[in-house]
Structure formats: structure tokens, C-alpha cells
């Protein structure tokens, strides 16, 4: 019997339809259907000037939009061969990591809510509010920041922001230990997530899984370490890797990533270089192409951009990690039961905005 989980369902993941074929309670097949949120972002980006297309890229993954706007701007800068000043690079690392913290906190809330723990939904959201307040201070908006520009950032960060971010990151670091107490040391959470939704290394690599889901299978691959960009080569951080490949391992990887990102932000706040926050950028792009890859909170995101010689792009293509992660979902669900679906669906962290573009 085919059951439709979606396109309207109360789990807070976005607009998609996960069709599963069940034999009683056991899942024997699954067929995710996406595309309900397709907005032709890539096509729209062809018509607009580079700077005008930035708000479009923001709305790809609305939870982690610093990462997506910076990805696009990085690609445009590579296309136009623009030199970015040091301070801008460090600011970029700082805000991208802050957004990673916010995104993972939101993921944690949604994941645990699906499993049934109502309190643990609100506590990470509350932490995320602090991060959002920080970003609101420098950009002026809580979610659609529109912060990077070609060559740097639109506004500078000041000392108050740096000081406050250190305090907030310290607080979030402390609270992650509180979350561990609520979740790790609880038998009931373990029983719902350990051994559930297992995928092994070979299948994960074959399916193109990237990001925390891949690192939970034992593959030590992080774009920030493999091909460091901006100031990632100079900050000191670890990449958590777990072996089991189940929901619990994915949860652990992301929790530790929150801690690592907090440390990165504190290092950036301490070591922020002086200087310009934006460089000179030309108005038109050459008729060539550029390609850039980043570590998004969901995995490896890429942007390919080709210029026309004019003010807009000929083609923009985004590689969305969540899109590819969803294709691994049928493998993870096979053989498990219907109540495991929210746990597995939540653990791979889909954001349908970037899946459908």
C-alpha cells in the first residue's frame, strides 16, 4: 500500500511528498517527489544583474542563507577575478559559521520535535534567536540578510558585534552540553534513533551523500578542510566523524559541528584583521565561466556561473546538497517502520527551498 507523507504534513521540513510503500508497518519501497517549491531561481538569475540576483539566492535555503549568498558572490568574484580584502574574508567566515550554528540549531529543534520531544524543540530555537539578533544587528534583518556584495560585504562589523558574538557563542557552547543531557543520556531518544536509518559508507558515497550525513558514515570529507577558501585555512577547528551511519550518528555530528562552529566564530572575533571590508568590483563580467564549492550546513554546495560580457549572467547553476541527500533517503528507509520515517527524514536535514530552487 502506497502512503503519501505530504505534500502537506505537520513535520516542519518544507513542501515535498514522500511516498512510501508499506507492507503492514514495514517500508518496502519509497519514492520522494520534489518540485512543489520550484521557483525558477536559476532562470530569474539570468535576467537580473548580479547584485539584483542576490536576494534570489538568499531564498534558496532560507535557513542557511548567509552560506548561499556567499556561495553566489564567491562564484561571481571568481568569474570577474575580483580581489577580496582580508577583513572581508574573515567576516565572511564568521557570519557563515554563525549561520551554520543557527541552521543546525533549527535542525535540532525540528528533528527532536518530530520524534516527540516538545521541549527540545523550543530550546534550540531560543538559542537561534540570539544568533539571529546578532545578525540582525549588523545586517538589519532576521533572516534575509542580503549581506555580501561583489568584492566584500555591504556593511562593516564593529567591536560591539565582535564582543557580543563571543558571549553568545560561549552561551551556545554551554547549552549544547545541556542538550546532550536531555538527549544523549536519555534511553528513549536513543531507542528511537540508534540503529535507525542506517546507511553504510559505500552506499553513501555512491549516492552522492555529502555533509554531516556522510561524516556520520565514517567518511572524513569536509570542503573546508579539503579545499579551504577564504580564511578557513587559518582557523583551527576539527571535523567530527562517526562510524555508525544511523540517525543518532548524524545527530552527534551536527551537535559537535555546532560546537566547532562556535569555536570558529570566537577565533574570528579575536583575530579579525583591520582594513577595508569591500574591494573594487567591475560592472560587467567576462564571457567565461567560474565554479566554486562550499561546505553548506547540509553538505557540499556548488555554484557554476557563466557570464555574457554584460551585466547579468548567461547561466547560473546551483548544486544543492539536500537534493542529492534526498536521493539517498529510499536506501535509508528500506526495512524500517512507518514511525521511523520522521526520524530519518529529519536526520538528513532537508530544506526544500534549495532542493527545488
Amino acid at each position: 500500500m502506497w502512503i503519501n507523507i505530504g505534500p502537506q504534513h505537520p513535520s516542519t521540513h518544507g513542501l515535498w511528498d514522500l511516498r512510501i510503500k508499506v507492507n503492514g508497518e514495514v517500508i518496502v519501497d519509497s519514492d520522494p517527489q520534489v518540485g512543489y517549491l520550484h521557483r525558477s531561481v536559476e532562470k530569474i538569475c539570468e535576467r537580473k544583474e548580479f547584485i539584483m540576483a542576490m536576494p534570489m539566492t538568499e531564498r534558496l535555503c532560507y535557513v542557511a542563507n548567509m552560506n548561499w549568498t556567499h556561495l553566489y558572490v564567491h562564484a561571481v568574484e571568481k568569474l570577474m577575478n575580483v580581489e577580496v580584502p582580508d577583513r572581508a574574508k574573515w567576516i565572511r567566515v564568521m557570519v557563515c559559521e554563525m549561520n551554520r550554528v543557527a541552521s543546525h540549531l533549527f535542525w535540532l529543534g525540528a528533528f527532536v520535535h518530530d520524534i516527540g520531544n516538545l521541549t527540545m524543540f523550543l530550546w534550540p530555537i531560543r538559542e537561534r534567536e540570539y544568533v539571529l539578533d546578532l545578525l540582525e544587528y549588523i545586517t538589519g534583518a532576521r533572516m534575509m540578510y542580503n549581506y555580501p556584495r561583489i568584492g566584500g560585504q555591504v556593511k562593516d562589523v564593529d567591536d560591539k558585534f565582535l564582543r557580543r558574538s563571543k558571549v553568545v557563542m560561549d552561551m551556545i557552547l554551554e547549552r549544547t552540553f545541556e542538550y546532550e543531557k536531555m538527549l544523549d543520556e536519555s534511553d528513549m531518544f536513543g531507542v528511537r534513533t540508534k540503529g535507525v536509518g542506517v546507511i553504510d559508507r559505500a552506499m553513501a558515497k555512491n549516492a552522492g551523500l555529502t555533509g554531516p550525513a556522510l561524516r556520520a558514515c565514517g567518511v572524513d570529507f569536509d570542503v573546508r578542510k579539503a579545499t579551504p577558501y577564504w580564511a578557513y585555512g587559518e582557523v583551527d577547528f576539527e571535523v567530527p566523524v562517526y562510524d555508525e551511519g544511523d540517525c543518532f550518528a548524524r545527530y552527534r555530528v551536527r551537535l559537535e559541528e555546532i560546537r566547532e562552529s562556535c569555536k570558529i566564530v570566537k577565533q574570528c572575533a579575536d583575530r579579525m584583521p583591520e582594513g577595508e571590508f569591500i574591494g573594487k568590483a567591475p560592472r560587467v563580467a567576462p564571457k567565461t565561466y567560474a565554479w566554486v564549492r562550499h561546505e553548506d550546513p547540509r553538505g557540499e554546495s556548488m555554484c557554476f556561473i557563466m557570464g555574457t560580457g554584460g551585466k547579468n549572467a548567461y547561466r547560473v547553476k546551483f548544486r544543492s546538497p539536500a537534493f542529492v541527500n534526498i536521493s539517498a533517503l529510499p536506501i535509508m528507509l528500506l526495512g524500517y517502520k512507518i514511525p521511523d520515517v520522521p526520524a530519518v527524514m529529519g536526520s538528513i536535514d532537508v530544506c526544500i527551498g534549495e532542493v527545488d530552487r
Binding site: M1, I3, H9, P10, S11, E25, R47, K48, I51, M52, A53, M54, P55, M56, V112, H113, D114, I115, G116, N117, L118, T119, M120, F121, L122, W123, R126, E129, E136, Y137, I138, T139, G140, A141, M144, N146, V154, K155, E178, K181, M182, E185, S186, D187, M188, F189, V191, R192, K287, T308, G309, Y314, K337, I338, P339, D340, V341, P342
Partner: protein
């Protein structure tokens, strides 16, 4: 004979008193026509028309039947009605406790607005449910669909009736009280299965089956965990069990294992987290309750919380001493004085405390999968209950020497008590030793974390929840916030860079009507279509003079499409239509505690008294100019604008607003639809260069192909 002081009456004596009152009322009403006729006839002097007591009397047969002396049907009806009212109010209070307490565990407040401390929230929610349609699937089996909430709620009320609340309030007491209540609980799997099946919906069916399986797994431990209690006290009657506990100490010390097992079994029966998979939201929408709406769904909630009350009350009666308070003395000093608070309040307080523990458990844990739950039920709970019964049976029943008094460090106790407590401690420690690897750190840690959060958010200890109580408290936003646009007339040089950069084509350059035009060369100003604006701030960045700004005013909701088109004059501040108002706050200025108390109570009434305000707030997007008839009356039926203008100066602000809307409506009626609407202005696209649209590039210019 009933004692003189009404506070010393038992429940039945109270019902008897009400019965007497209602007897007199009913017969007085029934005799009314007779009496009126006699008064009329006597006063008119027509003595031959006066009716004797037996003539032409139409005694209402129902009254005769109700008040028959040996049957006392009315007393039963009054008893049942009082029970109903009490149970309903109790359920509302239980739901209130759940919402507020759960909120504090989650670092937020619960209902705040409806009534003081949000006490009336559930009343309004119930009224809301009453106004909703009782929709049902077309092919549902209506008899079963109808029957499911009836069985649930009916069995819950019957169980609530069997619970005594104090020595004086024993509503219905039979020899097999405990068994009766346990059996009434057992009706629910049947009702839920019926409801799930009758809904003609895959998800409801699955939910119903899961729920039935879960409840069956919970039934057996539920029944057996009270086995120890029955063996020790020797009776099924609640009054006897409470009397035993008064004499020998609370059964939670004699049967700790039984108490814990019973609590877990009650949680399984009530389908509360951690056992609420059948109605889990993230699984299959709402599970077996998916197709229920309106008051039927309200009945399901009512039944659920009523069974919650019955479960908590049973735990209190069986394990926590019922309505008794321990009579501990420290030497000669009484530590607790049981006779000041009436036993009913003690009983209810204890039930609410037990329910608070249920809410605490709900806040701390995720839910278990059905098969994991069944695993727990059959493999863990059931053997523990059997161990409990075995130990109670062998040791307590055989070893006790009734009547003998033993000296203990706690004072002289009867030997029954000592054996019971020793047995209880022994069983508990033995089973805890078996499970101790897991129990304390791994199961109880979340409870500790949530309790800490609860203490942190309480004002008593200097904390407060994280939430901001909008609109009474406002969130502080930084000045760099990108919200409401502002335009400076002096600085704008009509360069239209803002219009060109807007990714969504929201801005248009329009001749300014009310502007001061400091430079006669630059008379056009940008007007903004806020319904398309995404507040990206690009227009502010490119403005060369800094004329266009964005500020921190975020209360920008409009109730019609016209309100979301901000003309250049509005942006500059000359036309104060929507810019200065706070639509979110509505028109009621809430300042003092009186306002906070009164307006939430009066709001449901006010919406019928001041329809123009609430019609506007209901968001009639396409017909914002519809004005209700009440406002027309207010305007006195006058259509002439000049006459209306004369009246308006003396009116209250609310009435002025209403009349302004009336005038606007009259104007639109007279002039017909506007030639140019906001939509047209937005789509004019004067600032886009030709050839930049799709397909507009000539082939020889398109070199990228």
C-alpha cells in the same frame, strides 16, 4: 437528618436539599396558571369561577414521576448534573494547568490574554469549537463515527462518578469500586478502534489499530499493578483503601513498585507522551482523530482529559492517601494540621500535583514507537507486576499479625504497617537493582533538566521566560533594521536609481502631489508597492543622496491591497494614512491592568457591538470598503458629505473612523473604479530599458547563443 451547617452536608444531602428546592420550584411553576386564574377570579369577585385545588389541574406528569418519594429520580439527576458541571470545570482547569506548566518547561508562557492568567482560554476554545462545522468523511460509517466520542466521554463521566473525593462526597460507592473504574477505562480501546475504522481513512485506520494495540498492552499491567493494593488493604472499595491508608500510612511507601507501574500504565492508557504515538502529529497527521472536527473533536479532548483526571484521582486514592493528610507530630508540635483545609480541597490539590508530574513527564521525553511500547508493556511491566503481587501475597497476607503494635524509630506502629513498608522497600530495591544500570541516570536525567528550566523561568526566583508578550511588550529592534521606508523630500534628486536596482520592480517614479519640491527640476518621487517588496535594502544602498531610508517600524500589516501601496506622499510623511498607525494593536489602547483584564473578556462580545472595527480586522481584502449597517445608522442615514463633516467633529475617534470609511465607500461608488490602480502603476515599468526582457533581444545582439 441533615446537620445544620451546610458545609457539613454530604454530597447526597446536598443533592437532597437541591431536590427540595427544585420540588417547590417545579410545583410552583406548574401551579402558576392555576394560581393566576384564582387571583384573577377572586379579585374580580367571580367566586364561582375560583378553582378548588383538585379542579382542572394539569399536573405535569413528568414532575410527578421525578419526585416520587421512594424512587427519587430528581435527586439522581441533580447529582449527575452537579457531577457533570464539576467535571467540566475540572477538565478546563486540568487543560489550563497543562498548557501553562508545559509552557514554563519550554521557557515560554502559556495562555496569557483570555481572562486573568489565561484561565478562560479553554472556555473560548470550547466556544470556538462549537462554532465549527462537524465535518465528516462522506463515506464514514456515521453510527460508529458518532458512537466513538459518546462511548469515550460517557465512560469517562461514569468513572468520574465512582471516585469519592472526601468522606462526605461519595457520589456512587459500591463494593467493587476499583474494579468498576478499571473496567470503565477498558472501554476506550473499543471506542478508539471504532472511531479509527469508521473514518474511512487509511491514516485513521492505522492510528486506530495502533491505539488499540497500545491500550491492550497497557490494560494488563494496569489491572495487575493494583493487585498488591487489593491484597494489602483487603478491599476493592475506595473508602476502605483510604481508611487503611489513614491508619497505616500511604500505600506509596508500602507499594512503591506498584505505584510506579500503575503510573506508567495510566500514561499508556491516557495516550500521553511518551506513549502518544497513535495521535502523534508528525506521523500520520492526527492519527485516529484526523477526521473529527468541531465539537466532536472537542468531545474527544474532553474525554481524554477527563480520563486524565480519573487516572490522577485513582493514583491519589490508591497510593497517596486520598483525602487524608498525615498527622505527623514532632514531639508535641503538629507538623501538618489536617483539619483546617477541607478534605475535598486536599484531594483535588493532590490530583493536580499528580497531573503536574504527568505534564513534567510529557515535557521531558520523546515518544516511543508502538512496537517498542508493546515490548516494554509485555516484557518489562508485566513481570514486574507479577513479582509485586507475589511478594504482597506471600509476605503480607501470611506474615502479618493484625492488631499487634511494634515500636519503631518513627513511633509506635501497627505490625501490618511495618510489614507492608518492609515488603515494599524490599520489592522496590530488588527490581531497582535489576534495572539500575538504566533507570536513574538514563531515564530520569531529562526530568532534572526540564525541572531546572521551570525554576529558571519562574518570577519567584528572579527569572522570566524568553518570550516577549507582544503587543503588551515590544521587541527592541536595532536602528539598522530594514523595515518601513522613509523618503526625504529635500534630498531626493529623482535619479530613479532605486527603481532600477529593485529586483522586484516595486518602485515607480511618480509626480509628487503634496511634496514641497525644493528643486523644480526634480519633481518625481518613488512610490513603493509594498506587497511585492522583499525589504532587501538595495534601493537604500544605491541612493546617492541618502534620501531613501529604511527604519525599524515593522508593524506594517494592511487589510487591503490599497493599503500596501505606499505612495510617494506617504513615504515622505505628507499623507499620514497608514504610516503612523499601528494596525497590529487594533484600536483598543491597552495600558493598565484593568485593560488587560477587561478587554480579553469583552472581546468576543465587542465584536458584535462594534462591527466596523472587527470587520476591518477580519481582513476583508477585496471588499475593504464594505461598511456595516450599524455604521450607516451611526451616520444617521445622511449621505451629504458636508453635513457629515459637521457631525464628525464631535464624535469619538472610533465613530469618526467608521464614518470616514463610509465616506470613502460613497466616494468610490460615485466615481466608479479608478482608471489607474496600484497594479497598473506597478506594471508600467517605465524605468526598465527596452530590450532587457525575455525574447526582446534582437538576434544580432545576442552573442552568447
Amino acid at each position: 437528618m441533615a446537620p445544620a451547617n451546610p458545609f457539613d452536608w454530604t454530597y447526597l444531602e446536598l443533592c437532597g436539599a437541591l431536590n427540595d428546592i427544585s420540588y417547590h420550584v417545579v410545583y410552583a411553576v406548574g401551579d402558576l396558571p392555576h394560581n393566576l386564574w384564582n387571583i384573577l377570579a377572586a379579585s374580580l369577585g367571580m367566586r364561582d369561577r375560583v378553582l378548588a385545588p383538585g379542579d382542572m389541574t394539569f399536573h405535569i406528569g413528568l414532575a410527578d414521576w421525578l419526585f416520587v418519594q421512594n424512587r427519587e429520580i430528581m435527586v439522581s439527576l441533580i447529582a449527575a448534573t452537579l457531577l457533570l458541571m464539576f467535571s467540566l470545570i475540572n477538565v478546563l482547569m486540568f487543560i489550563w494547568v497543562e498548557r501553562k506548566l508545559l509552557a514554563r518547561f519550554m521557557d515560554r508562557r502559556g495562555p496569557m490574554v483570555a481572562g486573568p492568567f489565561g484561565l478562560l482560554q479553554n472556555v473560548w476554545d470550547g466556544m470556538k469549537l462549537m462554532t465549527k462545522e462537524n465535518a465528516h468523511p462522506a463515506r464514514a460509517d456515521m453510527f460508529a463515527f458518532f458512537l466513538c466520542p459518546v462511548i469515550l466521554v460517557g465512560s469517562a463521566f461514569a468513572a468520574a462518578g465512582a471516585l469519592p473525593m472526601s468522606p462526605k462526597v461519595q457520589i456512587a460507592s459500591i463494593d467493587l469500586d476499583l474494579l468498576w473504574v478499571l473496567m470503565l477505562f477498558a472501554f476506550s480501546p473499543y471506542a478508539i478502534f471504532l472511531g479509527g475504522w469508521a473514518s474511512y481513512n487509511k491514516f485513521s485506520l492505522i492510528g486506530g489499530m495502533r491505539s488499540a494495540a497500545q491500550m491492550l498492552a497497557g490494560e494488563v499491567p494496569f489491572f495487575l499493578s493494583v493487585g498488591g493494593v487489593i491484597l494489602i488493604t483487603g478491599s476493592f472499595r475506595f473508602a476502605d483503601i483510604v481508611a487503611w491508608q489513614d491508619a497505616h500510612g500511604w500505600l506509596i511507601f508500602a507499594q512503591p513498585l506498584g505505584a510506579i507501574l500503575f503510573t506508567i500504565a495510566v500514561l499508556i492508557e491516557l495516550e500521553r507522551i511518551p506513549f502518544d504515538l497513535p495521535e502523534a502529529e508528525s506521523e500520520l497527521v492526527e492519527g485516529w482523530t484526523t477526521e473529527y472536527s468541531g465539537l466532536r473533536w472537542g468531545m474527544l479532548w474532553l474525554g481524554g482529559y477527563l480520563r486524565g483526571y480519573v487516572g490522577c484521582a485513582m493514583i491519589v486514592l490508591l497510593f497517596l492517601g486520598g483525602w487524608g493528610m498525615p498527622n505527623y507530630k514532632l514531639g508535641e508540635l503538629p507538623l501538618l494540621t489536617p483539619h483546617i483545609i477541607p478534605p475535598v480541597f486536599i484531594f483535588l490539590l493532590k490530583s493536580y500535583l499528580v497531573f503536574a508530574v504527568f505534564v513534567w513527564i510529557r515535557s521531558a521525553y520523546p515518544r516511543l514507537r508502538t512496537d517498542q511500547l508493546l515490548n516494554t508493556g509485555w516484557k518489562r511491566l508485566l513481570p514486574a507486576t507479577l513479582v509485586n503481587i507475589a511478594v504482597a501475597g506471600f509476605l503480607v497476607v501470611d506474615q502479618v499479625r493484625p492488631g499487634e503494635v511494634v515500636q519503631t524509630p518513627f513511633g509506635p506502629m501497627s505490625q501490618e504497617t511495618v510489614v507492608a513498608w518492609v515488603v515494599g522497600a524490599f520489592t522496590f530495591l530488588a527490581v531497582a537493582a535489576l534495572y539500575s544500570m538504566h533507570l536513574l541516570p538514563r531515564v530520569l536525567q531529562p526530568l532534572v533538566s526540564t525541572a531546572r528550566m521551570f525554576v529558571q523561568t519562574l518570577g519567584w526566583f528572579g527569572g522570566r521566560p524568553f518570550t516577549v508578550l507582544y503587543p503588551y511588550e515590544r521587541l527592541e529592534v536595532p536602528l539598522s533594521e530594514r523595515w518601513l521606508h522613509g523618503l526625504s523630500d529635500e534630498k531626493c534628486i529623482s535619479c530613479a536609481r532605486c527603481c532600477r536596482i529593485c529586483p522586484d520592480n516595486c518602485l515607480n517614479m511618480v509626480e509628487s502631489q503634496m511634496g514641497q519640491h525644493p528643486d523644480p527640476r526634480f519633481t518625481t518621487r518613488p512610490a513603493l508597492d509594498a506587497s511585492h517588496c522583499m525589504f532587501c535594502g538595495l534601493c537604500v544602498e544605491v541612493c546617492p543622496t541618502g534620501a531613501l531610508t529604511m527604519g525599524p517600524n515593522f508593524e506594517l500589516a494592511g487589510f487591503s491591497r490599497d493599503e500596501l501601496y505606499w505612495s510617494q506622499d506617504q513615504l515622505m510623511g505628507y499623507d499620514k494614512k497608514t504610516m503612523q498607525e499601528h494596525p497590529a494593536k487594533g484600536e483598543i489602547e491597552v495600558v493598565t491592568w484593568v485593560d488587560k483584564l477587561l478587554y480579553p473578556l469583552l472581546t468576543p462580545v465587542l465584536q458584535f457591538v462594534t462591527p466596523h472595527n472587527y470587520e476591518r480586522a477580519k481582513g476583508s481584502h477585496s471588499d475593504a470598503n464594505v461598511v456595516s449597517s450599524a455604521v450607516r445608522e451611526l451616520a444617521g442615514g445622511k449621505e451629504d458629505e458636508r453635513e457629515l463633516g459637521l457631525i464628525m467633529d464631535n464624535m469619538s475617534p472610533r465613530s469618526k473612523k467608521a464614518v470616514e470609511m463610509l465616506l470613502a465607500e460613497m466616494r468610490t461608488r460615485r466615481q466608479g473604479p479608478r482608471d489607474v490602480s496600484a497594479w497598473d502603476l506597478r506594471h508600467e515599468r517605465k524605468h526598465e530599458p527596452k530590450g532587457s526582457g525575455f525574447g526582446e533581444t534582437a538576434p544580432e545582439e545576442d552573442e552568447a547563443a
